[in-house]
């Protein structure tokens, strides 16, 4: 028995090592760790019948933000705040069938012209809060099935000449392409090789 206990002890330093300062970070936090303004907004504005509510802190090394994620009406909501707790946007995860047919067709037509093959992995209807009362933004987001968002944010896997790339793409409410950012893939897929 002593031998395998010894092996466990010998391997523990691997887990305790690597104390380098992290640049990008996203972590679970308690609601109390959110800025007070954000806590107050959530308390007053999120619907009562939500579930799976979790809070996150995120930084890319420069910008810091806070996020509350929950499920409402079987859709995932992400409510994002800046470091002072001011609402930035609300994103609602939707399915292809939730989009108006002409908008989906326009988006797919754009993707079709730009890439050999593509797969839409995720669609989020984005409601921005920069020009309005944050309470109104939440009201719009809650009625996402009947309200036009400001943008649609898509995660799209693409294949060009056999090469796989993933992008976060932004389309306006009418399905016109706005911009994109490549998502750098984790070079090693831990589960398969």
């Amino acid at each position: 028995m002593k031998h395998w206990l010894l092996i466990i002890i010998l391997m523990l330093p691997i887990f305790a090592s690597s104390q380098d300062k992290k640049i990008e970070k996203e972590e679970d936090i308690d609601r109390e760790e959110m800025p007070e303004r954000a806590q107050e907004f959530l308390l007053l504005n999120i619907p009562e019948d939500i579930y799976k509510l979790r809070h996150y802190f995120e930084t890319d090394g420069e910008k810091e933000s806070y996020e509350a994620k929950f499920k409402f009406n079987r859709h995932r909501f992400s409510v994002e705040f800046d470091e002072d707790g001011i609402l930035e946007d609300i994103e609602v995860q939707v399915k292809k069938k939730d989009l108006k047919n002409e908008i989906l067709k326009k988006i797919e037509h754009y993707l079709d012209t730009k890439h050999d093959r593509f797969k839409i992995e995720k669609i989020q209807a984005q409601y921005l809060s920069n020009k309005e009362d944050p309470e109104l933004t939440m009201k719009r987001a809650k009625k996402f099935d009947s309200n036009f968002p400001d943008h649609f944010e898509l995660i799209v896997a693409t294949k060009n000449k056999g090469k796989l790339k993933k992008y976060e793409m932004l389309f306006d409410a009418k399905g016109n392409f706005k911009n994109e950012r490549e998502i750098i893939r984790n070079s090693y897929d831990y589960l398969i090789f």
Partner: protein, 227 residues
């Protein structure tokens, strides 16, 4: 993490091992591994590994005996959006440690597929193997595995993650009856930066459960380096 989650994992693992090791015909072995993964910018990737298996506990007695050392290589080619086709070759050095056992060459054909659904990553792996030794054994395997970050929705540097898997195995030869086996794994991993990962876990194996079943526990773990 959640140092508390890490401590809880080790505590549960220790309790599990202590309890299960009291049963008859039970073996505890360790299988540490170091793997290097080379991911080309095109559709190809290559994996090289070295592992060994050590007997730690058998017949209610603690002991230490090296069973084998194994070198492995897999070449993989991306297919579709989430799949990979791989061809693997392993060489297991048995004779160095035990005269009556011959070395083994293993050829593996594999299809695997993994996809992330928000925080959860799900993978399926199908393998067909030819174990070339005194008697060539053919083996089909299917593994279902999930990976879950323990902090936030993605695995950042220095963060821990949990990997769990279940695998069914079916071995057959011309001369003997087919054997069925089942394995369950649970591991705690850590992203140690630069795409490199360390992990430590337990694997429970139920072997030949359709014939003369026996079971064993493997202490698994290692280091995966990405280039």
């Amino acid at each position: 993490m959640t140092t508390s989650s890490s401590r809880l994992f080790y505590l549960l693992a220790f309790l599990f091992v202590s309890t299960i090791s009291q049963s008859q015909n039970f073996v505890i072995q360790a299988e540490p591994e170091i793997a290097i993964n080379i991911d080309r910018p095109n559709r190809w990737s290559f994996n090289f590994g070295i592992t060994n298996r050590d007997l730690l506990y058998f017949d209610k007695t603690s002991q230490f005996r090296v069973n084998f050392v194994e070198l492995s290589h897999f070449t993989s080619y991306e297919v579709g959006f989430y799949g990979k086709l791989s061809l693997g070759l392993r060489y297991r050095f048995n004779e160095l440690f035990e005269d009556r056992r011959k070395d083994e060459i293993r050829i593996t054909q594999q299809y695997s597929r993994s996809r992330k659904y928000n925080a959860l990553k799900v993978a399926h792996r199908f393998r067909f193997e030819q174990r070339i030794r005194e008697l060539t054994i053919y083996r089909g395997r299917y593994q279902f595995s999930v990976e879950y970050p323990l902090n936030g929705e993605r695995i950042d540097r220095n963060e821990y993650f949990l990997v769990m898997s279940a695998e069914a195995l079916w071995s057959f030869t011309k001369e003997e009856k087919p054997e069925l086996g089942q394995r369950f794994d649970i591991s705690l991993g850590k992203d140690i930066g630069g795409g490199n990962k360390a992990d430590l876990g337990l694997q429970y194996r139920l072997e030949e459960y359709n014939l003369n079943s026996f079971h064993g526990l493997f202490l698994i773990g290692g280091l995966t380096i990405s280039i």
